[in-house]
Each structure stands twice: as structure tokens, then as C-alpha cells.
Symmetry: C2
Subunit: 260 residues, 2 copies
């Protein structure tokens, strides 16, 4: 059955989508894995960032319906992208109402996990992009996941939220009995020139030194240009610093998840 990786951070704009899309595409293109990318963020930026790689038709039933009305499996609504080995289950705007619709419903955190039962037997790895909060949608991703990857850009405000995601992982383990392995914190939008703030952020991250992904993703405009072009960084500009850094993260994740 597939390994499931949740890409989470409460802080907005730290590179959750950029990391989810390039990790998923990298595992498909560079490691030859059968990948399913799921977008649990109502903004729907996975589909936007891959707009040139999508087929003409869209899913028959939106993800919000599969989750809130327990209709069908994610495998039935995901579709092949033009990237070999990469399937996408996009989000939809109604997902934003899921929080209110599911409030108070027993077992609301387990809906995604149940809806992934068939998908897990077709894919080798599932990557889940999360919204910028620790609400019901992110909780669903954590409870469906085997691994956590937490992007954090090099700023005071972002690093402050890293502790919250680790607390949530502990709460999920203690109260809901679900054990998640931590792939780590991936430092994004790193600009070596910002020495003063970088040093402060690295100092704060020291407390999680066991959980830091070695490669830092540099600030690289090619990553934003790839999103404009609607394609992964490996297809847009394979020799740029962003592609090289994400390729290292892909290799690192693959060796941690499947063994060297």
C-alpha cells in the first residue's frame, strides 16, 4: 500500500504548495514512483501550479462531496496528469465549508483516511497539500498520513508556528492513537544575504535539529516562473538552483521512506 506524506504548515505562504507539487512531480519523474497528489486546500493551487499538465476533463465528483457526504473513493475522482506516473485529486471551493459542515460530527478527522482506501492500493506514494491552518482539513491529512513534511521559510513569523505543528502531531498520537513519522522541517525561500534573520531562525530551529531536512530551498524566481507556466520545476528549468534543491529533497525523502 502507498506511503502517505502530509505537507503542513499553519503559516501562510511558506511553500506548502510549491513543495507538494515539486515533491510529487519529482517522485514521479526522478524516482519513477506512482504518485497521487491530493489538494486539501480550498484555494486549489495544486491544479493552478500544474495547469499546463492537466487533461481537458475534470473530476466527476468534487473532493468536498467525497469527504462530507462519504461518496466514493479518492481513486475514482483523481485523474492522470500529462506527467508520467502523476495523478492529481484537485480541491474545490466548497472544501472551505467543510470546517463548518463537519463541526461536531464524530470521526470527522478520519474522512480522508477512509476515502483513500482504494487509492492507496493503486499509488505507491500520496502527497497531500494542506491549507494554512491546523483545522479539520489539515487534521484529516495528518490522520491519513504516515509522514509529515513541514515547510518553513526563513522568517521569525514562520518559525514560530513550527512548534504548533509538532504539538498537533503529538495530540494526534495521544488522543487519536495515530502515529506519524516526521520527515522534517524543510527550509524554503532561503536567501543567504539575509544573514541576521537567517541566524535567528536557525537558532530557533536548533530545538528540532533532529527534524531538519538537510537541503535548504533557495529563493529562486524560476520556481515562481514554473508556476506561471503551470509545470513542475524539473520540466520548466531542470538546471536551476530550485530544481537542484528540490531534486535533493526528493532523493532524501525517497531514501527515508523506502530505504536507501
Amino acid at each position: 500500500a502507498a506511503e502517505v506524506i502530509a505537507v503542513c504548515a499553519q503559516k501562510g505562504g511558506v511553500g506548502k504548495t510549491t513543495t507538494s507539487v515539486n515533491l510529487a512531480a519529482g517522485l514521479a519523474l526522478l524516482e519513477g514512483k506512482k504518485v497521487l497528489l491530493i489538494d486539501m486546500d480550498p484555494q486549489g493551487h495544486c491544479a493552478l501550479a500544474l495547469h499546463s499538465e492537466l487533461p481537458a476533463e475534470t473530476p466527476s465528483r468534487p473532493l468536498s462531496e467525497v469527504l462530507t457526504r462519504k461518496l466514493g473513493d479518492i481513486h475514482d475522482i483523481a485523474f492522470d496528469t500529462k506527467i508520467p506516473n502523476l495523478r492529481l485529486c484537485p480541491s474545490d471551493k466548497d472544501l472551505a465549508q467543510a470546517e463548518s459542515i463537519l463541526a461536531g460530527r464524530i470521526g470527522k478527522e478520519f474522512l480522508l483516511r477512509k476515502a483513500l482506501e482504494r487509492a492507496r492500493s493503486f499509488a505507491e506514494v500520496v502527497v497531500i497539500d494542506c491549507p494554512p491552518n491546523l483545522g479539520t482539513l489539515t487534521l484529516n491529512a495528518l490522520l491519513a498520513a504516515d509522514w509529515l513534511l513541514a515547510p518553513c521559510d526563513m522568517s521569525t513569523l514562520s518559525v514560530e508556528g513550527v512548534g504548533d505543528i509538532f504539538d498537533t502531531v503529538e495530540t494526534v498520537r495521544d488522543t487519536l492513537g495515530h502515529h506519524l513519522s516526521v520527515l522534517g522541517v524543510v527550509r524554503t525561500r532561503h536567501d543567504a544575504k539575509n544573514k541576521k534573520v537567517n541566524d535567528a531562525v536557525e537558532q530557533t530551529l536548533e530545538q528540532w535539529s533532529r527534524h531538519l531536512v538537510t537541503t535548504r530551498i533557495p529563493v529562486n524566481t524560476a520556481l515562481a516562473q514554473a508556476q506561471l507556466a503551470g509545470t513542475p520545476i524539473f520540466s520548466h528549468d531542470p538546471d536551476c538552483r530550485g530544481a537542484k534543491a528540490y531534486a535533493e529533497v526528493v532523493r532524501d525523502v525517497a531514501s527515508r521512506v523506502w530505504g536507501a
Copy 2:
């Protein structure tokens, strides 16, 4: 009574907090207005970004309680910062549960507006920082506000969400009868070197050309350093590009809200 400005964007990391804090501080320091800054984002980054300017004691009752249990007025829980004319009503982590607690409660969108009745007679202007979504907390800010300021960084993913916030303003007008004036979209984290993506973003923003704040906020590491130092940009480095740009936005907002 005070003018109320909501700073909203569904997209994460576009500079809502950086803009709220520096707009509020600028209106206090540069325009001499009595300012109340309210943090409606459970991340609580307004207090973090102003940590050097806070008094030793914290509010008696958290904002989440004032809103969900209708206890008291914002004026009673806000406190003076060390910046003359600037008071802060910080958020608290329990605010994150507000979405679920208030789901289905009639009039849940008007709670902040009701809790501001006294505060509006003490302050001349209220600035509200919002979380990265268009849920109940942001809706409360919009229904309490007279003006909308929408930060958008120069990226494909951010500009895509600008339409959503304008749609929400229209829905608030049509279904809840609340009219909001639009101060505009403030372009943030602008880096002139990223010509290709900038051009694409500016092209998309053309459709709202009536609603664009003239000044673009440049990428300026001093803004992140000011947050590390816990002080507004005007106190941290008044001659840097970030301070000059935010001072222009403060002047622009003041002339729009109170007349030249």
C-alpha cells in the same frame, strides 16, 4: 466614531500582518491618529511582530471569549503599546476554534461589529489583521469594516485569489446589506528583477485597475528584521525602502479615508 480598515487576503504569506502592523503604526506615528490594531488571526502575529512594544501585562479576557460568549467590548481587552496612540487587541489560539463553535449560529458574522461599539468611540481608526482564509473570522472583520485593503504579492498564486475577496465583498453587500469601500490591492514583496512574473501579475491586476494602491511595497529585508526586533519599520529603520513605501501607503490611506 472610528473608521475601520480590514486587511484581508485568502492567500497565505502575502503581507497581511506586515501591512496591518506598519499601517497601524504609521497612522499613529506619522498621522497622529488614535489607532486600535485588532488581530483576528489565531496565529497571533501582530503581537509577535510588535513584541518589543508591548506592556508586561496581557488582556484580562481573550478575544475568542469576547466574540464567542459575547462578553464585553474590545475596548476593555485592548491595551496601550509603547508606541504613542497605538493600542492592540491581540488574538489567542482559541480563536481557531471559533469557526466550529459558531458554525450555524445566527448572526455569527456580526459578533466583532457588536463587540466594537465602545472601541469605535475611543479610537479614530481600527485596523484588523485577518487569517489566510475567507471564513467566519475574516467575514466578521469585513462586517465590522468600512474599508478593505487587500495585500497581494507578485505571484501567480496570489493574484488568483484577489477575485475571491472582491466576490466576498459583493456577497456581503448583497446578502447582508453591508457596504464596504475598497481602499484597494496593495502589491507587496515586489522585486523589479522578476520581470516575467511581474508582467503577468500586473496584467491580471489590470481588471481591477480602479482598485490598485499606487505604491508597491518592495522586497526589503529590513521589514523582516523589524519583525525580528519586534517593532514597526518606522522605528526600526525609517530611511529604508520598506519604511518609505509603507509611509506612502499610510499617507495614501489617510487622504482616502479622511480627505486630503
